[in-house]
């Protein structure tokens, strides 16, 4: 829908002006009814958010590319190093994040239909998952370092620590964002005004989940093969 800017509107004849207002109003009510039939045009969060999401994923993508490129020249060492990682912790953490993403989806739906209490509980669950993930990640770091595998051991461990560290930073930021959502819920913020914040947080959290799946697959599984 092309909305004429304020300047152009002033130049329109009165009756067109009114039509335009009506059109906007009906479009808004259409947007509210998209619970049942989701609109094709709706961008989750807002358009600008996706600059960050895609930019962030591009950056991780470049790190993955360089990682795989370095692996080509040294696949034996990469394989031996990858086999020293604790795969069960990585796999369990993957499940924890997938569960947290599911809780976030449920919370978003609950918030949208006005079940604020239920949404609050689900968000607390997701924050709990983030805590479990971070605790296991730190444990894993300690185990690796105490076994003598530090970032300077070799290129594989450099990438392992950097990728997992950058991802952990994202988890921490995401926990802050989920908390902001929880605070908004506690204040009783209702759906239409909360939509941009909530959808933005949810999109960010799914990105964190997606990035971990890529890291787990490439660093823990592909390199160990």
């Amino acid at each position: 829908m092309s909305r004429p800017d304020a300047r152009a509107r002033e130049e329109l004849p009165d009756f067109l002006w009114l039509d335009e207002e009506e059109g906007l109003r009906s479009a808004a009510s259409l947007g509210r009814s998209n619970l049942t039939e989701p609109s094709q045009r709706h961008t989750p969060g807002e358009v600008g958010l996706w600059i960050f999401i895609l930019g962030d994923m591009t950056l991780f993508g470049v790190i993955f590319l360089v990682f795989m490129w370095e692996r080509r020249s040294d696949s034996g060492v990469f394989k031996a190093s990858a086999q020293q990682l604790i795969q069960p912790i990585g796999a369990f953490n993957t499940l924890v994040l997938l569960l947290s993403s599911y809780l976030v989806v449920r919370a978003l739906f609950a918030h949208r239909i006005g079940r604020v209490q239920a949404a609050g509980r689900l968000i607390l669950g997701a924050i709990g998952c983030a805590g479990v993930f971070a605790a296991l990640k730190v444990t894993e770091y300690f185990v690796e370092v105490s076994e003598g595998n530090t970032p300077s051991t070799g290129l594989f461990f450099t990438f392992y620590f950097v990728l997992a560290g950058l991802h952990l930073l994202h988890v921490l930021v995401g926990t802050g964002l989920l908390s902001a959502w929880a605070v908004a819920l506690r204040k009783g913020k209702q759906w239409p005004s909360a939509q941009r914040l909530v959808e933005g947080v949810a999109v960010y959290w799914h990105m964190v989940d997606l990035l971990w799946i890529a890291i787990f697959t490439l660093v823990y599984l592909v390199c160990a093969e």
């Binding site: 360089v66 450099t158 950058l166």
Partner: protein, 236 residues
């Protein structure tokens, strides 16, 4: 004539990018800078190339100071966004000033190294390490500045600047996080010359300067237009 002054200051962003890159090309910092794994001969050789290195580095010391006028314009527009309690504006102002120093100091240090290249080579290598690590690693002021700008834009109901600019700022802040790794690696992609350190930060900081300049110039034009219209009405 505040519009004209604002416009001139807002052009500081592209001016920094173009002039600093030119200075580095003249000095030989670009296309391939010295790295943490450069040999003593390479480091000493770089700084002993007569006045070309001195002139190029000096140009870049001047060029990076053009971020300061841009920071002033950002502050003016953040003040409009925040209104009565412009705490993020002040945060941006002080961190912005700090970033100016963080950019200027290492370049002055490099120029100083080129001033007397005949010294003991070990000293030159040490000074070069100090200059580069000072240049690359103090990222916190830059990141705080980006986040302050981003949060102010997202909280601004009048949309003084488009909301996507906030997200670009968050992305730029994130891209600086690997820079602290420059302390830990002497070669490879996370050494100070690596793709995720020097090249990434150079690219995203340039993006930041140009995006801020372009969007601020547009905002300056738009805020000048109503005033022009008022003048026309008053004249009629």
């Amino acid at each position: 004539m505040p519009t004209r002054i604002l416009t001139i200051c807002a052009w500081g962003g592209p001016a920094t990018v173009v002039l600093a890159l030119t200075g580095w090309l003249i000095a030989g910092v670009l296309p391939i800078p010295l790295g943490p794994d450069s040999t003593v001969d390479q480091v000493v050789g770089f700084y002993s190339q007569d006045t070309r290195v001195l002139a190029g580095l000096f140009l870049s010391t001047v060029a990076v100071c053009f971020v300061l006028p841009l920071i002033a314009v950002i502050s003016v527009f953040m003040m409009r966004m925040e209104g009565r309690t412009p705490v993020l504006t002040f945060l941006q102002l002080v961190t912005g000033a700090a970033t100016g120093v963080c950019l200027l100091l290492p370049l002055l240090l490099m120029t100083t190294i080129a001033f007397r290249p005949g010294r003991n080579p070990e000293l030159t290598v040490t000074l070069n390490d100090i200059a580069w690590l000072l240049f690359i690693t103090p990222v916190a002021p830059f990141m705080i500045q980006n986040v302050a700008i981003g949060v102010a834009i997202l909280n601004d109901k009048r949309q003084t600047l488009p909301r996507w600019v906030a997200y670009v700022n968050f992305w730029v802040a994130f891209s600086f996080t690997p820079d602290v790794l420059a302390f830990f690696f002497h070669s490879g992609p996370f050494g100070w010359r690596g793709i995720f350190i020097f090249w990434l930060a150079l690219t995203t900081y340039s993006v930041f300067l140009i995006v801020m300049s372009v969007t601020l110039l547009k905002a300056i034009r738009e805020s000048a237009e109503p005033r022009a219209a008022e003048v026309a009405v008053a004249a009629a």
